[in-house]
């Protein structure tokens, strides 16, 4: 029994923090026509396309989806319309 992988296109809110906000010039934006499920790598790729300067964070950044950290890689994330996706540069609280 094979399941068919259904790809939807939807709209998410992207939140930028710290250095990623400086590089994108934005704190927050809407990203449209995002497929789901999508690998975190491909999602990061969409953000890089819109804001090429984000490449400065390549290799250091992770995303947060549904308030869970997701490393950039082939892990699939499932999004719902209106979901928040956060760009998380290296932490420096404390």
């Amino acid at each position: 029994m094979r399941e068919q992988l259904l790809t939807l296109l939807l709209q998410v809110i992207v939140l930028y923090f710290a250095k990623s906000a400086e590089l994108s010039g934005l704190k927050e934006e809407e990203l449209v026509a995002v497929p789901t499920p999508i690998s975190s790598e491909d999602l990061w790729g969409l953000l890089l396309q819109k804001h090429p300067r984000l490449v400065a964070l390549q290799g250091q950044v992770v995303l947060a989806v549904h308030q869970q950290y997701v490393a950039i890689g082939d892990q699939l994330v499932t999004l719902a319309d209106g979901d928040e996706v956060a760009v998380v540069p290296p932490l420096s609280g404390g």
Partner: protein, 159 residues
């Protein structure tokens, strides 16, 4: 008599309900307030950690302060996970409270104050060390150092 006893038990349980508080604040942090938040008549020990901004020279520039920001809604959920982790390691930990600054923090001011109460001191002392290490590693808060030259740079926690 019976209802009085029940009420007494209820009060005792209320006062022993584990408290876990994280507050993000744009104002000066009160150590006393954080300590009061964890005090409990069943605890003999309160361990406290205060992180402040050092007066520092970086490449010949003087640090004048720090600018903090946070992913506020996720701070709460990561802090809850951290408290679960602390209680799993040191079950005797009673209350945990963290106040963390956001926005502009001048050199010399506290950016974080945390306190943990426990019946005996050893658990609380280990727990507070774990709490600050893990807060730095997992809670989505960022700071940039601001220099007297108007320049600034985002910091990265090493641990």
């Amino acid at each position: 008599m019976w209802s009085v006893t029940v009420f007494g038990v209820f009060i005792a349980q209320m006062s022993e309900d584990p408290r876990e508080v994280i507050r993000l604040s744009r104002d000066w942090l009160s150590v006393q307030e954080v300590v009061d938040s964890v005090s409990s008549s069943s605890c003999g020990a309160i361990s406290v950690f205060i992180g402040t901004t050092r007066e520092d020279q970086v490449d010949g520039r003087k640090v004048v302060g720090l600018e903090y920001e946070a992913y506020e809604s996720m701070v709460q959920s990561e802090f809850s996970k951290l408290c679960d982790d602390i209680r799993a390691r040191w079950p005797s930990v009673t209350h945990v409270c963290v106040h963390h600054r956001l926005g502009w923090v001048k050199v010399g001011e506290a950016s974080v104050v945390m306190a943990i109460s426990s019946p005996h001191r050893h658990d609380g002392q280990l727990a507070i060390q774990h709490c600050i290490s893990q807060l730095k590693a997992t809670v989505p808060i960022w700071k940039k150092e601001v220099y007297d030259t108007q320049e600034a740079s985002w910091k990265v926690n090493s641990e």
